[in-house]
Symmetry: C2
Subunit: 632 residues, 2 copies
Amino acid sequence: MNRHVPIDQVEIRDAFFAPRIANARHTAIPYMWDTLHDAVPGVAPSHCIENFRIAAGLAEGEFQGFWFQDSDLWKWLEGVGYALSVQRDEALEAQADSAIDLAAMAQQEDGYLDTYYIIKGLDQRFTNLKDIHELYVAGHMFEAACAYYQATGKRKVLDVACRFADCLCENFGPGENQLHGYPGHEEVEMGLTRLYAVTGEKKYLELALYFLNERGQKPYYYDKERLSRGEKLHEKRENFWDDYGYYQADVPVREQTVARGHAVRQLYLLAGMVETGAAAGDDSLVEAAERVYQNIVQKQMYITGGVGSTHVGEAFSFDYDLPPDRCYTETCASIALIMTAIRLHRAHPHGKYGDIVEKALYNGILSGVSLDGKKYFYMNPLETWPERCERRNDIRIDDERKGWFGCACCPPNVLRTLTGLSMYLYTENEEYLYVDQYVSSVVEAGDTKLLVESKFPWQGEVKIRVEKAGSKKLALRIPGWAKDYTFSINGEEMDHDAWNGYEFAGQVQDGDVIELVFPMEVKKMRSHAHIPEYAGKVALMMGPVVYCLEEKDNGDELWNLSLSDGPIAPEFREELLGGVTILTAEGVRESTSDALYSEEETKQEKQPLTFVPYYAWGNRGKGEMRVWIRKA
Amino acid sequence: MNRHVPIDQVEIRDAFFAPRIANARHTAIPYMWDTLHDAVPGVAPSHCIENFRIAAGLAEGEFQGFWFQDSDLWKWLEGVGYALSVQRDEALEAQADSAIDLAAMAQQEDGYLDTYYIIKGLDQRFTNLKDIHELYVAGHMFEAACAYYQATGKRKVLDVACRFADCLCENFGPGENQLHGYPGHEEVEMGLTRLYAVTGEKKYLELALYFLNERGQKPYYYDKERLSRGEKLHEKRENFWDDYGYYQADVPVREQTVARGHAVRQLYLLAGMVETGAAAGDDSLVEAAERVYQNIVQKQMYITGGVGSTHVGEAFSFDYDLPPDRCYTETCASIALIMTAIRLHRAHPHGKYGDIVEKALYNGILSGVSLDGKKYFYMNPLETWPERCERRNDIRIDDERKGWFGCACCPPNVLRTLTGLSMYLYTENEEYLYVDQYVSSVVEAGDTKLLVESKFPWQGEVKIRVEKAGSKKLALRIPGWAKDYTFSINGEEMDHDAWNGYEFAGQVQDGDVIELVFPMEVKKMRSHAHIPEYAGKVALMMGPVVYCLEEKDNGDELWNLSLSDGPIAPEFREELLGGVTILTAEGVRESTSDALYSEEETKQEKQPLTFVPYYAWGNRGKGEMRVWIRKA
């Protein structure tokens, strides 16, 4: 069974990621704690903790915020758990424990714990699984509980989680007196399976399987619960949210082949299918997830690892519909993409999954957070014209990162991804240790210990020093973008012999040094011919990093720029955007007459172009940005 | 005072327009009559006539359809009036008279006539001028009444109109017991001024002026009526329809400088300002309208004469925001654009107005109706990808013309434009006869009679035979696209001496022959540099006609085609699309690898390109279309 190396066995020393993780630890965690407590001036109150206080009987008032507001606390706690796995922290634990105590006080006799219905009326609970995210919130609670318990050994939150899970097992299942439903927003599947992994309690896994197996079966449960609430069924499904495909619940999950509907829902479903399928030994779930995942990465993913082509429903649209300026490409969706990719990798190891993890990490996820770690993008477009963002009503794109959101799913999701980053770096089983990402770190997997050093993503040289050879064989991912590379052990160059995207080192010895050199060449990427917006255009990449033009460096009307043939020069700029390699190249700026339309030929002038990493855009004030540029 | 030559003094013999007008006369008029009577199978019932029957007490039932449904009858009747001006028709008049009788029966004691409130409750009338289009409907009634009266000499509908106009004069105005409001959808200004022109009743003109002068004054009337209805005012205007700018009612009309809000409203306002201002001798209204009009044609108009860049609110957006695939470019808005242009021309004659009339007529208006005259586009995009039209929720573009619409404003608007086309062709005053458009026809203006012959828009030769020289001097428009042209009288070439876009012929004699030759060259048009979508692209025009690529002729993925340098050959094809000149040129098709993103260079293959006139697109089944094409 493949698993990630435990967090506390990985020490990240990476020049690129370590400061970002430190930011998450020292800036985002306290900042989010304050927002959960409505204590950040200028940020709309979250009401999250207040809801718990009301549910616990410590305060009076109405539930406020979204019906899934509890999940903000749980995602925060999950992120805290990972941070504490790396380093314990009494003050932080005291905060977390106080929140856990509060949640425990709010928990009902039978284990139920969702402040929305505790405050609004428990008679309504489980009556609208499709729209009200009780099971989604539960899933996040289970993940948080596992993370916090594993980090601290403190059982309280795990007990709270198990009591709620027991309550779900009581209420859901095939029994006559049980509900045969399943969540409208997937997440609980992962949570239950993880809770099973931590506690060994098999019924949690069975409930996860039950939810997956019931999903999309006819007659539809969502129809039934609608009728039970005394509502009519729709004759025509005019709105996307009336179409159960939006919830991936129109056909059974094993029959689904194409990504549809809400992007985060879709990907949490896939991640849950893989995790649960793998844990239950049901490969049909893994295979079905793989099918939909392949549809995404082959036909519905932006070059940045962004997914979700339309803001209407925050959703996938259809194959090759990937407009750069009308996408949703939610930060959470890219996170969900790597959650799925890493689970597929653990089910059937292959370097192609690491390619997607790497792509999303270095581009579409990191773009979601400002360099100072304080501001967030919900949406990550590949092209912006601020005037249009502000003035067109059919576009839902922010032209600046914001401090927080009413629906605050992305910030804590970034937090848990960064503090739990090491889970994406190494995979182990009895025989192998897979080095999945070249993030500088020290890793101990069983009796094997490595020191990995790289300057990714700016330089392609990787040095792996075998501190303790131990019993595991080493597998080293060859990134998909590295067509050419060298691989040597103790200075001896090895033949290329990659299999499933990995080079395998034979039995190594203590003190061995493995060196990999991946050429970090600048590449002019083309898109598939079926995407209208990118015809005749290229996007620059160097290694895993996607580049973009910003107004700040290149003036406005970026659309009038095109890239000339000729050399593209990388240059590392320590002082810029936290230290980035920029690309400079010769370009052309086209200009026209002042008439709206004119037969006059355009004027073309040379202009040097400066490209910066996409993830770093929007950190120097408002302005235009674009990833894809015409070729001169 | 400049005016159009009366309809019955113009006989259109044009190879291009005559069949279209015949279609309107013989297909659209009876078809619409049937739809107004809910008698077209497969077309959703309009309920328009039924509403009149209920209002007249001849039937029982509720009002159905939009609150402005009455206007469909009035626009139909206006179109019928123009058709009858050209040729009387007993059967058609019998139909029209029966509808007029019905309307007269529905008319209230005090002259009020709007079936919506007659059926819903007259106590509510005039309580929501902003949203319920009573005054808009009234305007269309007045225009229809004038047209039908002028065509037939039958006073009944004119009397109905005057009685309603009297009712409005009673209810609206500066008096203490009068309402100080103005319409949420402009139109009544034109209607009242026209009614004044036909009847000489000055109070109608005064009411039109009153509506224009009150518009946008503070405190806002729309706030007052909202409060009177017991509703609250918005603290924040979150939706476009809460912003009075959407109704051009946030500032007084003379202070408005930029086109905003609902496109048809904006342009009906401008047309009303010019018509009323000119009739009242108030040039400040004309000047204010000219300012906003110039903003439109210089910064907010598509190359096809389409206007309205966003479907959200069917509205203008902002300068240079002219996306080809997210526009609204409603057929009605282009019609309203030429209504404004022709009125500005009559206020201060200049050829530039005729350029816009010509552009919209040959492109963005005609594209709204199928070649057989039976199907309509509401929206006229410059680029379509059927899959996207069907599958993206943030796009509101039809990929096929429809038989009718629930909100059926465009079909009768096209009808009245075509049957009343001659009003756009000639302008006269005591001294001059302006030939504004070169549509083959015989025109008698006072004692001057001309025979105009051309093969516009396919050929640029125009021959004008002076049948009777009469007392008027001739002014001949030189289209803006004709940089070079020849102008001769009786074979003698004249020097170029155009002024305000017109060449003036001195005193001509009976039998004189004036010849104009405008070179119909193919031009590669560029757009202003501030429009992102057209950077690096060209649109082909020949004379006034804008061309497009269709999938039918060029295969799919039109975005992969680019236009090579080299000759572009026009060829008239009698059998194609009702007879069109197509353009053929050498092009290149780019293709890529099957990967979603790849560093592989694209393959380029030559491909001949076929362009067809934009107005004729979508007449050969579904498929992609695009106007702007990359240069290879």
